[in-house]
Symmetry: C2
């Protein structure tokens, strides 16, 4: 269990990478979260520890716990309660990743073999449940019913979003509104909840809670849209997962929806075959990328993402200027401009 | 009861004004709707007829029934069921206007004295209920449980939106997300439902229903944002209602939220006094407009509206090109670029 979580090098600001800058700003808190992650994912059953360690120490951006940590400090909180709760948020996120990879039958996650590829589907499902339970255990230790309400509700909403996504898989008739509803649920709700948890520990007013919900929700929507764009536009090596995964899985994302809505009959026939019918041939992914570029689907999906980013930015306006606010604003830009 | 509803001159396309063009395209249907409106708002109680006639023959854009009519034709519907249902949609809209004016204590509506100013609050409340009932009566005559489900749900959502708006009145801490939730409910839901009703009579698939929901919902959000911008930016004579109404009522709209979020301390003090405290002095409205311009609040609210307009436009992509589709796309642009 002695794995060192070294993804985020903790050095002093200013940084070029906004994610590293934010990590540096809450370095002590983040170190505590990483300790808690190692401690709380431990189990007497070696398979659980091994699998949990595989998926959690693979790193990821730790974006959600970072939000909880930074928001608490933005709200002048000086205690340590947010550390356990940020850990809880990361466990919920990791649990949904594990279950997602099983549902999607993904082979890669963050550039490494996915847990289900290494340990099998059954173990991944069960360890996801284990992490879920540990997440709630951490919340119960904290003792705030408000936090329990926020995160249990978020968990239910996430599941609903995942189910909705499953139902629309390969359905080329999925509307942009349905897509927005899905990503709001499966992704943005946890971003919003992570931020709100930071506000709860700092005893903030309803106004600040609402501003932070707006921030998290819209940041989360922007994040997911950009994720979905990157699956068609990223450079494989930088992305750290297989480019074209969504395409292969027939996942209906915004670039696909825009391309379908704007396509002519032959293009719609193409989308129906490759996404709807799942009948893919060599060169189909390149053709999909080419159509998307021609129809402005990737460009306009990014334009949509910027809209949500703008709402997120504006929502922090009510908070006094401080390094945490500046770092969170940079995270909005990073979320949209990132290449991975 | 012989009032002639002459707001929309019915002439042949092409037109400069997209609203007139759309009206001309469904001229026969619209004439039938106007006949139904006159017929169904009639009552043995003269006060009801007089008041209903006052508010309905004042005109308005008839945008919602036009959507229901045009969508049915877009979907190749050739019958007349949509005429009664479009009338029902307009009655629901008119009922909410009547109740709104009572709640807001408005003196002007569409450039004329509001019904409550002329007939009193009690009559306005009751005639609103009368029109609501007539709306449902029309739906029951049509006999579609699906339409009843859509429009009864919309009515409940609208009421919730109005209550939410009431609760946030004068609350300068209202977030942009809360604002979006409110206008989605109080305005956009009926736009979406009007479109969906057109799809129901044409027996369209779930895919087309969903595309039309996306169209109506996002058009409605754009419409309300622009409405809220016009209250600070329009030329009084063109607007047909009192400019600055929202400001006087302390209504929290997007331009206000953006101005507050971006304001410095003295500006926030200003907003707290005039909106939060309702303590207005001469020149405050002009100062509000000036701050909004300086902070880019009106410009960026319009930018937000364009985002929703873009989603609405894209959502019609799955329909074959025909004059109805072209006219509906023009309505999106009109909604955003209008000056009244």
């Amino acid at each position: 269990m002695g794995a060192v979580l070294s993804l985020h090098k903790i050095t002093s600001p200013p940084q070029c990478d906004p994610l590293e800058a934010l990590s540096a700003l809450v370095a002590d808190d983040l170190a505590a979260v990483n300790r808690l992650i190692l401690e709380r994912m431990d189990s007497d059953v070696p398979l659980i520890s091994d699998l949990a360690q595989h998926v959690i120490s693979a790193g990821g951006k730790r974006l959600r716990p970072l939000l909880a940590l930074a928001v608490a400090r933005l709200c002048d909180y000086e205690g340590t309660r947010h550390q356990k709760l940020a850990t809880s948020v990361e466990f919920i996120h990791t649990a949904t990743l594990l279950h997602d990879d099983v549902v999607d039958a993904s082979l890669l996650r963050r550039g490494s073999s996915s847990a289900n590829a290494l340990f099998g589907n059954q173990a991944s499902v069960l360890v996801g449940d284990f992490l879920f339970s540990r997440a709630f255990h951490l919340m119960v230790e904290d003792g705030s019913l408000e936090v329990l309400r926020i995160l249990s509700n978020a968990s239910a909403v996430i599941s609903q979003g995942e189910v909705l996504q499953l139902v629309t898989q390969r359905d080329t008739a999925t509307s942009e509104q349905a897509y927005l509803d899905i990503i709001s649920a499966k992704t943005a709700e946890l971003f919003a909840s992570a931020c709100r948890v930071g506000a709860v520990v700092a005893n903030k007013t309803a106004a600040e809670d609402d501003a932070l919900r707006t921030f998290g929700l819209n940041l989360g929507i922007a994040f997911q849209i950009v994720d979905d764009v990157l699956d068609y536009s990223a450079v494989q090596e930088k992305l750290g997962k297989t480019i074209g995964d969504d395409f292969r899985e027939g996942k209906i994302t915004l670039p696909v929806i825009l391309a379908i809505n704007r396509g002519d009959e032959s293009e719609r026939h193409f989308w129906q075959r490759v996404i709807g019918g799942g009948d893919k041939q060599d060169g189909d992914f390149v053709r999909a990328q080419e159509i998307m570029r021609r129809r402005g689907a990737l460009r306009d999906a990014m334009e949509r993402a910027r809209h949500y980013g703008a709402i997120a930015r504006d929502s922090l306006g009510i908070f006094d200027s401080n390094p945490y606010k500046a770092a969170l604003l940079d995270i909005v830009d990073f979320t949209i401009e990132r290449k991975f």
